[in-house]
Subunit: 340 residues, 2 copies
Amino acid sequence: MVTGVDIAVVGATGLVGQEFLRILEHHPLRINRLKLLASKRSAGTNIKVRGCSLRVEETTPESFDGIDFAFISVSGEVSSQLAPEAVKRGALVIDDSAAFRMKPGVPLVIPEVNGSDVEWHEGIIAIPNCSTTQLVMALYPLHRANPLKRVLVSTYQSVSGAGKAALDELRIQREEMKVKGPSIPAVFPFRIASNVIPQIGDFDTYGYSEEESKIIEETRKILHDPDIKISATCVRVPVTICHSESVNLEFTDPMGVRKAHMLLDNMPGLKVMDGSGLMPYPVPWDLQGTDDVYVGRIRRDFSVENGLALWVVSDNLRKGAALNAIQIAEEVLNRRVLKK
Amino acid sequence: MVTGVDIAVVGATGLVGQEFLRILEHHPLRINRLKLLASKRSAGTNIKVRGCSLRVEETTPESFDGIDFAFISVSGEVSSQLAPEAVKRGALVIDDSAAFRMKPGVPLVIPEVNGSDVEWHEGIIAIPNCSTTQLVMALYPLHRANPLKRVLVSTYQSVSGAGKAALDELRIQREEMKVKGPSIPAVFPFRIASNVIPQIGDFDTYGYSEEESKIIEETRKILHDPDIKISATCVRVPVTICHSESVNLEFTDPMGVRKAHMLLDNMPGLKVMDGSGLMPYPVPWDLQGTDDVYVGRIRRDFSVENGLALWVVSDNLRKGAALNAIQIAEEVLNRRVLKK
């Protein structure tokens, strides 16, 4: 067993990087060395982790010398340049960008679903898009018991999925709302306060946004099922943290509500909230900062044979990004596939 | 032709009543007498309409003496008591509550879709639920050309759909957000600021909310098609005005995007916003106070044969309620079916 690992966190000052460091505070992962890396602009700031004040350094290829795990949470463009440099220097990259997810040699991993995929890595393991992860966490236990024929999802995605500047934009627009001031959107194509925007990323020639294509393609890759039929509509809503999803499923065989409830309840990392108690169904505000994927409103979809409808909520910065990254590292350590 | 009508607006101080009066300001409907009615609590206030200051009176059965049209926008419970009194006194009730919508002798009318249904009224004509109206406006021109087999809708419904107190609750929670103060929800089951709530009305034994059942049943009634398969998930979002809907359709025969675009474009009261211009798709913030139903993001749904996906936005207080009510009155006058 490894006694402690050398870790580099690239994008340490970003929303996902910060969440990653918050999780590390109370995480059993043994760390020898922790390097906080960022762009030149963000370098120089100090961040306290596990009692030590660490200086954020500018990322260079040499930053990865001697590093075991490089957790990269930056844009796809930047990651495309940095990740190969890290791999060259022997680091295992766990990448949160879209740059490598669909590449053939790159496992796309949710440990509870396809943890064994980490075994065939070639230096890079990708984290699925946040909206994909929570969807697949809910689909997997059901699909394993009764193959899915069709998945329809409409998302209600929080502003934090678009980064710090997006959260600032929402906050400023909310303040301006009181004085009815003008608001010029910069991060989003329209104002997001008191609005919903059915566009996340650019549209392709078929009219699908990048986020919608990601959900479709990534789900198939993670479930090792290129034939599963999926349609997605991705929408940004004025919520700060946690994505929600309205999901309609069609199974090969009949799937009762109780059976689905039981299968979901037995899934590690997933909690069913269904009908009773203080929280009869999951809502984003009350689940910020939690680790699990929450499923509620499990009900028959009477509009199709073997249909089921669900409501899925999860913290997009945690299981949707930073937590999943740490879990992948644990999976790699447990399976002893750290070195190629 | 009628030279002028006597109108009573019940619930004149409510959100829909106020919107109704705003529309009347510039509407060609000729009015002899306009009576503003409300509960005892709201009676006594003065409202300016078409240059006249009118006193809001408490609603009593006698309020309807000599009235041609009674526009009622109050709770189902209150309307159940008032509407029959108005009918007894010869008024034609145009009711915005859920009390009469599914009753056999009550037409449920969207004039552009089933205007001729006003002809068989027995004293009450019901306005569909706001989330139903905008959905059916988009379904109708497509369904007429190529029968729909299945409709799936996930809604993003604004807070104004729950009334004035709901808007106040959102505003107060937004202000408290800055000071991280506590917030005890009263109108909604959870806080609504920076949250989404997948519950509108109570749940039935199958796990469907009242709003979801309304969409399903009302759509079938308006389209005169009890067999059309529909599934709905209704969600409240922190938007003040305009409901949005993510819709997936399945047709009997192939339905191309261009064909759908053309059919929708020819539908009165509906505008297609698709891909170009300053508003390439409809969003709620920018469409508050407008009269039409807006459709965008028209694209193939590749997960099913003959599938199509849409995004629909409309002002829930206008076409979703007050405007539809006035249009029903016009339809009644045009078809000369005012008196039974």
